[in-house]
Symmetry: C2
């Protein structure tokens, strides 16, 4: 029982049944395509959610910081890819991780490959990161000479060249499901060509790893790849829904927020719930409206369908402005609690730091920098 009446401040709710359904769906799709599912754990940062993955047979994961790798290694995960360019200044902690788990690293330059060859003390898997269009990190996909130079700089025996990896984050800009699916197909084709070029240059048996939630959710089969790393699918969010990557019924998180003021002249509610709870990610609707979340009500078993025409219109540090329909405005009083479906699951979970499942149990995510349990 959720016990809604006890929610006095912004509270992140997680529907574990939806989580289980979301991750099972991707695991089955991956299995049907003969692909390894290596979910990105940055979305939840939670040992509890990790267990739900373990229950469906997942054993390999990826993370986006050394802190996270250590946290999940401490929680029994022993096959972890660190999915950001190697931070040279953390080489001692990386070596300590490589000693106790199967660690995958991400290399996108000869300089970093040379650094690792000099400084590694334990065996790691190396993934060469390809920039397949997102223009964030990785070697530009057309620069096959640079890709081969990095491959040649990956030195045995401590560095095992495992494959090529990309994050096709441009799918977040797709204007339709077809466009997102097209991005998947283009990415797989690019990666296949690079693998074949590398094979011709003597780098054989390489795997292909891809990882954005939108295109991997939209595609019915994950053809042409060996590993899928999507992470946001565990919870999904309003951004994924707008991209057509999920339905509203797949969204597995909501933030319960008290109503603290009402403004009848503009059908606006003020909620306790702001940038320190949701971060500041937003999406722009086709009509130009910028929204920070969608709105619904709570029931004793969870939350209801979103209310038409209601959204978070602005976020200050601790409070938010919610634009609502006249009907919804009239139904609500100061002191009521409403629910916000967040625009971006990863940052909301990171901000909130803990969540309550619908059985009323509270679970902390990994310690933050400020946490008393976190080293100096």
């Amino acid at each position: 029982m959720l016990g809604i009446m006890n929610i006095g401040q912004p509270t992140l709710l997680v529907d574990s049944e939806r989580v289980k359904r979301n991750i099972r769906r991707m695991a089955e799709k991956a299995k049907g395509s003969g692909v390894r599912f290596r979910p990105h754990f940055k979305t939840h940062q939670s040992a509890y959610i990790g267990e739900l993955y373990r229950q469906i047979g997942i054993r390999s994961i990826c993370v986006s910081s050394v802190d996270m790798a250590e946290y999940f290694a401490d929680n029994g995960w022993d096959d972890i890819t660190l999915l950001v360019p190697v931070n040279w200044l953390q080489i001692d902690r990386i070596n300590a991780l490589a000693q106790r788990i199967k660690l995958g690293l991400h290399v996108e330059s000869v300089a970093t490959a040379v650094f690792l060859a000099e400084r590694l003390k334990h065996r790691v898997d190396i993934w060469i990161e390809i920039d397949s269009g997102r223009r964030r990190t990785g070697i530009w996909w057309e620069d096959i000479a640079a890709i081969e130079r990095v491959a040649a700089a990956v030195h045995q025996p401590l560095m095992q060249l495992q494959g090529i990896l990309t994050f096709a984050g441009q799918s977040y800009g797709a204007r339709s499901r077809d466009e997102a699916a097209q991005i998947y197909d283009n990415t797989a084709a690019i990666m296949a060509r690079i693998r074949s070029d590398l094979a011709a240059a003597g780098f054989t048996n390489l795997e292909i790893s891809v990882g954005d939630t939108p295109s991997c959710s939209i595609k019915e089969a994950l053809t042409g790849i060996d590993e899928v790393r999507a992470g946001t699918l565990v919870f999904y969010d309003v951004m994924q829904m707008k991209l057509g990557a999920c339905t509203e019924d797949d969204i597995a998180i909501a933030v319960a927020c008290p109503v603290i003021a009402k403004y009848p002249d503009r059908n606006e509610l003020t909620i306790y719930g702001g940038a320190v709870h949701f971060s500041r990610d937003s999406i722009k609707l086709p009509d130009g409206t910028v929204i920070y979340g969608l709105i619904t009500t709570l029931n004793n078993a969870g939350w209801n369908r979103t209310v038409e025409g209601c959204f978070v219109a602005d976020l200050s540090q601790e409070i938010g402005a919610v634009r609502v329909s006249r009907d919804f405005f009239d139904q609500l009083n100061i002191g009521d609690v409403i629910a916000v479906l967040p625009v971006h699951a990863c940052l909301t979970v990171n901000e909130m730091g803990r969540f309550t499942t619908l059985d009323g149990q509270t679970h902390r995510i990994m310690p933050r920098r400020n946490d008393a349990a976190f080293p100096g």
Copy 2:
């Protein structure tokens, strides 16, 4: 000594000398204008920074959550205004605070005034919040009848009507220093008129409290008010600098971030430092460029002047993309540490959770929801 060589991950640096200069300047301006300085402590959330205020004689503060009020009450602050609409669901904690400190509350509706009259157990100061143009919270300034209704609902003896209060946050949209100063003058004029209307209706001896950092920094004298509540001035940031509220030399925080990748084809560096360190606040420059921070280098005593033409262009969860000049690009190597002056001090400090002063001491801010020291 800063010991820059030991910075291996994003680290928030605070220049305490600049902090002292910033807060002394506002304290002196307030004193010269015969105005009480009640700084907003949401910007720093830190007992250590609070002590710097105490050393210059500040005794009254404001905060934006009950959590923060409790934290600062625990750290010896006994005159605190809670600067968000009252969250009815936290009335027990509000009563507990009112029992031990001089607590100011923020009322903007008859409903909340009636609620407080019924539920308060200890004496509090009441400030009626006026919306002077920001359109966030408060009673619209022209609706004097509504303002009088709320004043009439403030019942003695536990509710002491102290004054009228506004946050002229529209100054964040000012396109020049003159425009920001004009917003201050308009706000003071609006508030004076409301005070005089209230006096005519029998509500006498009310104070006027205003609080945005841009206009209060730009004005040379704080005329026409009784209390100034600005908070961001403690650190300032790139947003305040662009508004003309401070110079670069006033900015008292920077985030040291390791360089983890270099992209010569687009003069771009990847840093370890992302949305979980800076939040996602940005500003748009006149030419349309969106920036998330400015860039500089570190020295053993702190940080240098920002480097022309260099800025944070994008933030992912854990990493950032930094656009730099060719010269600066060539000077830097992977493994170097650069410094980012953040766009928004409050959210960056909140994200980072702790900071290091230039003498090398680390200070935690108040516990987060996730903190092991934070109640369930």
